[in-house]
């Protein structure tokens, strides 16, 4: 059976890899949303019942940036949590 510290180190490494993708991808999605929003604004003026992910365009404009910021914050929290976990086994 593997030593628990080795298992924690391996799992942390995997989480870091996955979190790396989240941390780098979230700002791209944020920037993409900022770029398309002005085009969507024009589109929504012509098409009143236009929805984004089932939400009205106005709702989407306020909710989606919050969701993306949420992903970024969660990614930072995961990074800190993994750091704390690693620190606890090395102490």
């Amino acid at each position: 059976m593997k030593d628990s510290s080795v298992t924690i180190a391996e799992t942390s490494h995997k989480i870091n890899n996955m979190n790396h993708a989240i941390m780098l991808n979230a700002p791209i999605i944020k920037s993409a949303w900022n770029d398309v929003i002005s085009m969507l604004k024009e589109y929504s003026e012509e098409l009143e019942d236009f929805t984004v992910a089932g939400m009205s365009f106005e709702q989407a404009c306020s909710i989606i940036p919050e969701l993306i910021s949420g992903i970024e914050n969660c990614s930072l929290n995961i990074k800190n949590a993994v750091g704390d976990l690693k620190k606890s086994i090395s102490d």
């Binding site: 490494h13 870091n16 990074k79």
Partner: protein, 471 residues
């Protein structure tokens, strides 16, 4: 359109990671920041084949990979490709691992998860330092080479002057750089000619777009450079592409940047740093890959002291810069320039190219030429248009110089910080007269008529002074 886009960096960035999802992530991050030249590799055993076939600008390397680990690869890469910077991006958060990799020659060691800003900063730093290193090598080669410069790009620049030849060599080295190039020099020294030469040397696919920034207020600057969307302001009846878009894949030459307003300098800095801009009336960000060359006749360091020029912008521009000497500092070029301008003016005016007395060169050498080559050119044109006999009369030149010189003198002499105020003990009037007479003779190559003109006395009066001095 996309296939015509200029690749940046010119040599690809190689990304090595066994996780294909992470490769996509790296690639998307780099693409979104304007790095559109990448090679992806998810099998560390294939890296040497890729390095053999391609000239690589930077390697981003994972550490823990099956078959060949990143640190083993690093050990093999560095002796063969020491010029290629390697950034390790690893999930191993361990100081000893980082120290080991840096000792083996890695440029940087980053721990996953890496934040976008820090990652892009590391990429930019690595590319910048590698570019400086490669340029230093090329500069050394160029400066110590005996080969003459026969590049056609410089053919419109008439010179035999050594200082100018060094600048040619420097241009050849920096022409392919991705960094902006700053050309300083007095008005009429040929800044735009040099910008065009660099454009030819860089072999750009796009256009050469010159813009004079003097007199542009911030709105006009933004509209001229970045364009506007239809309806952006009253009178904007249709969308207009700016000159930055026109210079895509080419060169934007922005002259007189020392006269830019502070808000325009902020926009210029964003364009230089992020390669991004927004046309008026839109929040959309456009990306530029134009090579940017900037010119100014002002002393930017002085402008910084007066808080008229941003320090951060200056430092962004200071990587590649050269100063063009004024005509009075390259007098050895005077005969060459005079002959060339006489030929051109005669052709334009439908006259036979006149001959001139050798004393004309001496006369012209005494003048300070505040308008430099451009001033000489118009002076020659004026003289040729007035000339009627076979021999070009120097009277038109004498008259011009005589009319222009005195303007400079009172300015210098009425200045409270003039040379005399700095002397602890004043020399006698006779000593000062002797010094000035000697200087005038030196400047006129011993020609007493020209020297007397410089001194504002008649040739007879000068001759008398010289005789008195001998006795």
């Amino acid at each position: 359109m996309a296939e015509n886009l200029k690749l940046y960096p010119s040599k690809p960035i190689l990304i090595v990671d066994d996780d294909s999802e992470l490769l996509k992530t790296f690639n998307a991050t780099l693409s979104s920041a304007g790095f559109n030249n990448t090679l992806l590799c998810n099998d560390s055993r294939k890296i040497f084949k890729i390095l053999e076939k391609n000239e690589i600008s930077l390697i981003i390397l994972d550490l823990i990979m099956p078959h060949l680990r990143g640190d083993e690869l690093l050990e093999q890469i560095m002796p063969i490709y020491p010029q290629v910077p390697v950034i390790i991006v690893s999930g191993v958060n361990d100081v000893s691992s980082a120290v080991r990799c840096l000792n083996k020659g890695a440029y940087n060691y980053m721990v996953k998860p890496v934040e976008r800003g820090a990652f892009l900063q590391a990429i930019n730093n690595a590319l910048d330092s590698s570019e400086i290193r490669n340029e230093n090598i090329r500069l050394k080669k160029q400066f110590f080479s005996d080969t003459s410069i026969e590049n056609k790009a410089f053919s419109p620049i008439i010179t035999n002057n050594n200082k100018m030849k060094y600048i040619f060599r420097y241009c050849e080295v920096v022409a392919h750089s991705s960094q902006p190039i700053l050309i300083t020099g007095e008005t009429g020294t040929g800044k735009e000619l040099f910008a065009q030469a660099i454009y030819k040397l860089a072999e750009c696919k796009g256009e050469f777009v010159p813009v004079n920034a003097a007199g542009l207020d911030d709105n006009l600057f933004s509209d001229t450079l970045f364009g506007h969307k239809k309806g952006a302001f009253t009178g904007a009846s249709k969308t207009r592409r700016g000159l930055v878009a026109k210079a895509q894949n080419g060169v934007l030459f922005l002259d007189e940047i020392g006269d830019l307003s502070i808000p325009s300098q902020v926009k210029l800095l964003r364009l230089l740093q992020e390669r991004e801009y927004s046309p008026l009336g839109t929040d959309l960000t456009s990306r530029s890959n134009a090579k940017i060359i900037l010119g100014t006749h002002r002393d930017l360091q002085e402008q910084i002291k007066k808080e008229k020029f941003r320090k951060d912008l200056y430092y962004r521009l200071s990587m590649h810069q050269f100063h063009l000497p004024p005509l009075r500092e390259r007098l050895d070029d005077m005969p060459l320039l005079l002959n060339e301008f006489l030929k051109h003016a005669s052709k334009d005016l439908g006259k036979k190219t006149p001959v001139y007395h050798p004393e004309l060169i001496n006369l012209l050498s005494t003048y300070s030429f505040p308008g430099n080559i451009r001033e000489l050119q118009s002076m020659v044109f004026e003289a040729v248009s007035r000339h009627k006999s076979r021999m070009l009369s120097s009277s038109a030149f004498e008259k011009y110089i005589g009319n222009t010189q005195p303007e400079n003198k009172p300015q210098d002499l009425t200045d409270h910080n003039n040379w005399a105020s700095k002397l602890q003990i004043l020399p006698s009037l006779k000593d000062v007269t002797d010094i000035i007479v000697d200087e005038a003779l030196k400047r006129s190559n011993g020609n007493q008529r020209i020297a007397s003109n410089l001194l504002g006395i008649t040739p007879q009066a000068l001759s008398k002074r010289l005789k008195n001095r001998k006795t």
